[in-house]
């Protein structure tokens, strides 16, 4: 029995899954934009929470939890690394002495705060990508790209198919490595990666042959994949536009609001709470009236 990845796309009759690609891209793109460029912790937390709410609203709770787990691991790593390698900041919390390669290591509150901002960005980005992956049909993306860039669409098709195949192959090879007798040469990650790469090339040839047999080579640019419209498009267009404008405003006006060096300073006006409320409440747009959909 195959195990499905938590962030694998599953068709559902929920809002994001039913809506057209462009408004959903605008809507989720606004969360990605603010997660990438904002340095305001309040806005970043609100955007991450909003993206998570959006995921829960369209039945992608499992993808949200998976992204949060993975993102939390990366986020904590970021904070620790930043605290150790950045000696800047006036508030020294601990002096850890001389370390090989790093030299004198001083842990400062400012470095931890700066790492925290990076961590929040990573966390938000991971959640948005998780929701996108679980809710947006890759076929729609490929169809959208096919008309304008056939070769790119072919590459994207191959990759989108090869990724799950490679994941399956990797799991199988890993299992076989576990089953090797104790006296057989152990299989390291390098050998497994080499074997996987060699196998993936064969897989790529097979998938490309399949596309050729389907008539991909003769379709040219004449094939038009007509976009499918949905009654949910309007809400994503409106919300996505508003949130994108707010994200752009954050990008232009928000810088300098929260500073970490040489000392932590936060000059919060009304913009940050307003942006935070907007991104948090924007997460409810994916929820259906009268309760959200079938959460897993």
């Amino acid at each position: 029995m195959k195990k499905l990845s938590p962030i694998a796309y599953v068709p559902r009759r929920e809002t994001v899954q039913s809506a057209s690609l462009a408004p959903v891209a605008l809507y989720l793109g606004s969360y990605l934009l603010v997660s990438f460029f904002s340095s305001d912790p309040l806005v970043l937390i609100a955007a991450t929470a909003g993206a998570a709410l959006a995921g829960y609203g369209c039945g992608a709770g499992k993808a949200v939890r998976f992204s949060l787990r993975l993102g939390a691991f990366l986020a904590v790593s970021m904070v620790i690394i930043n605290a150790l390698v950045t000696g800047r900041g006036a508030t020294v919390l601990a002096r850890l002495g001389d370390w090989p390669l790093l030299g004198q290591v001083d842990v400062t509150a400012e470095a931890i705060a700066a790492g925290g901002v990076i961590a929040l960005r990573v966390l938000g980005t991971m959640v948005v990508i998780g929701v996108w992956s679980a809710c947006v049909d890759p076929d729609r993306i490929l169809q959208a790209v096919h008309g304008v860039a056939r070769r790119s669409a072919l590459t994207a098709t191959l990759i989108s198919r090869l990724v799950p195949l490679a994941a399956t192959d990797y799991a199988r090879i890993g299992e076989a490595a576990e089953l090797r007798g104790p006296a057989a040469s152990p299989v390291g990650r390098g050998a497994m990666a080499h074997r996987l790469l060699a196998g993936s090339l064969d897989r790529a040839v097979d998938v490309a042959a399949t596309l050729e047999l389907r008539g991909y080579g003769i379709s040219g640019g004449s094939v038009r994949f007509r976009p499918v419209s949905s009654r949910f498009d309007r809400r994503f267009w409106i919300t996505g536009s508003i949130l994108t404008l707010i994200a752009l405003f954050e990008l232009l006006a928000g810088s300098g609001r929260f500073e970490t060096y040489p000392e932590i300073s936060y000059s919060m006006g009304v913009e940050a709470p307003l942006a935070a409320v907007a991104f948090l409440s924007g997460g409810f747009v994916t929820w259906r009236r009268g309760g959200r959909g079938n959460q897993r």
Binding site: M1, Y9, V10, R161, G181, A183, H194, V205, V223, R296
Partner: protein, 563 residues
């Protein structure tokens, strides 16, 4: 052989579904020809079975028949190939997509979309069909193949059998007049395999689709065929009617003959039967007084059934638990395929003793692989327990997964490695590349890797398991596998092999465990389980319908005694 007509050559060519004239082909970098001097004409609406051992050229012939050779695989080609009158040298596979559908061996690499509906729709979109035509075609092909419930499913959630049906549906959705299939039943259980063959026959009869079906297990599909083509060393060794093929195979290539044909030939009965129904009819004609010629009945003039109480036919009772090499008690295993946990094993109670040769059978998804994986510690039970007191070596479905280096000596070495190689009967240079080995040698090497260090001196671990090792194997390779199983059991290990191949199970097993929906539904001597059924029964058993009679040699003995 092939009918010839008085039509002008050019008209006839364009009316042929597929035609090869003096086709020769060598893969790029290969030393030998994959196809040589192939002359072949396939009429519209024919149902052809393509026979031949591993490496005989079946797959290459099919690839040449859809244009993948030479356009995709490169290499050197000579002669000509035409599909519906169009040359494959001038038209690529995409241009020929309207004329031919192709289903390759591995269904996983033949699916490129996210959902089944999108996958079926894709070739029609590429062809530029109107949305209404596309919707109708998708609906029709889904109904014809019994998969409308799969349309909204994502392809990653499909089982192997479901994937195979979807791959077939995609090949048919453009309604090509010719479809080529490369061992489509190799991953299917006997029930699903039979269903697929008869589905093809129905499509052939109702839609007039010409079918070329490459298969190793000919006993499954010969009865559906109009014609058989046997490949031998890249050439056509035989081309004719199924019954003529059996006579040729019995005389020249016994490894290609069906069990019932070998049984009849051994007993000197003619004509040779094309399938179970034909065999029973032939026997009925020879013994018209018997209502069912060889069914068990006290009134029959046939010899008493001495196989019914033969050793190994008894139903197993609970064991003593002493000396067992596999012990499962109320074993429950739960897996989550993505849409919630599912009980894959449901309260399994099982014991296997040293030296036993056990065939683990059951339909796709019955829990065979999960049981072996649980025994090897790859999955944790949610309840109950499973133990292998004498140790276990498990060879998973793809032996290639064990071979990650380019030199055998780098995979396995030292005294423990040499002992493991001896145990599997492999005597090869450590400098050879595993990829250069034959399929059977690769399997043995992979098993030796699994065994290395698990042996005490020359003593094997208590339990050696192989998960569906016969996929894509011809009968010769299966014979080698049977020898290997006997060799391992002879050294004291219990050998458990999960398989869909009933004839293979007859050749190696002395006990059969039949799983159904995660439960043991039958556990008894091999002859008891594999006789008297419709699907999980050998061909001799289905023909003669005698309790405990399962093998060709038993069938010959029985038929000779009855004559």
């Amino acid at each position: 052989m092939n009918p010839t007509t008085a039509q002008p050559a050019t008209d006839r060519r364009s009316s042929l579904a597929l035609e090869f004239e003096g086709l020769g082909y060598r893969y790029s970098g290969a030393d030998t020809m994959a196809l040589e001097d192939v002359y072949l004409a396939i009429e519209p609406g024919e149902f052809i079975v393509l026979a031949g051992g591993s490496g005989s050229g079946k797959t290459s012939l099919l690839r040449a028949g859809c244009g993948l050779i030479p356009h995709f695989h490169g290499g050197e080609i000579s002669g000509s190939a035409r599909i519906g009158g169009r040359s494959t040298l001038e038209s690529g596979p995409g241009e020929l997509a309207d004329l031919v559908g192709y289903v390759a061996q591995d269904p996983e690499t033949q699916i490129v979309s996210t959902t089944v509906a999108a996958e079926l729709d894709l070739p029609l979109r590429f062809r530029g069909d109107h949305p209404a035509e596309r919707a109708r075609a998708v609906e029709e092909v889904a109904l014809a193949l019994g998969i409308p419930h799969l349309l909204p499913r994502t392809v990653v959630t499909l089982s192997g059998g479901e994937l195979q049906r979807v791959a077939l549906a995609v090949a048919l959705v453009t309604r090509p007049p010719l479809i080529l299939l490369d061992e489509p039943t190799s991953q299917l259980d006997p029930v699903s395999g039979d269903e697929l063959i008869w589905l093809l026959r129905r499509l052939n009869e109702e839609w007039g689709v010409a079918v070329v079906l490459a298969e190793h297990r000919l006993e499954r599909c010969l009865a559906a065929a109009d014609r058989v083509i046997a490949m031998d060393g890249g050439r056509i060794g035989f081309d004719g009617a199924p019954r003529e093929f059996l006579a040729w195979a019995v005389a020249r290539k016994p490894e290609l003959a069906t069990p019932s044909a070998l049984m009849f030939a051994g007993a000197g009965i003619e004509p040779l039967p094309v399938g179970v129904r034909d065999a029973r009819q032939i026997l009925r004609n020879r013994h018209p007084q018997a209502e069912t010629p060889h069914a068990e009945s006290s009134g029959s003039d046939h010899p008493p059934n001495r196989w019914a109480n033969a050793p190994g036919t008894g139903v197993r009772g609970p064991g003593s638990g002493e000396g067992t090499v596999l012990e499962a008690k109320r074993l429950w295993v739960e897996l989550d395929p993505g849409d919630g946990p599912v009980d894959v094993l449901r309260g399994i109670d099982l014991e296997v003793l040293p030296g036993e040769k056990v065939a683990l059978m059951g339909r796709n998804g019955a829990g065979k692989s999960t049981l072996l994986r649980a025994a090897a510690g790859l999955v944790e039970p949610v309840s109950g327990k499973v133990g292998t007191p004498g140790g276990i070596a498990l060879l998973t479905q793809n032996p290639g997964d064990f071979l990650v280096r380019e030199r055998i000596g780098d995979e396995i070495s030292g005294p423990a490695g040499e002992a493991a190689l001896r145990a599997v009967g492999l005597d090869i240079s450590p400098d050879r590349d595993p990829r250069d080995l034959s399929g059977g040698e690769r399997q043995r090497l992979a098993l030796a890797i699994a065994l290395a260090g698990r042996m005490e001196g020359e003593a094997l671990p208590g339990l050696v398991c192989l998960d569906e090792p016969t996929r894509g194997m011809d009968r010769g390779l299966k014979g080698h596998l049977t020898e290997l199983a006997e060799r391992l059991a002879g050294q004291g290990a219990a050998v458990v092999i999960s398989t869909h191949d009933v004839e293979f199970a007859v050749s190696f097993a002395d006990r059969v465990i039949l799983l159904g929906d995660g439960e043991v539904i039958a556990d008894a001597g091999m002859p008891t389980v594999l006789s008297g059924g419709w699907y999980f029964a050998s061909e001799p058993a289905r023909v003669l319908d005698r309790s405990g009679l399962v093998s060709i040699s038993q069938g010959v003995e029985f038929l000779e005694a009855g004559e």
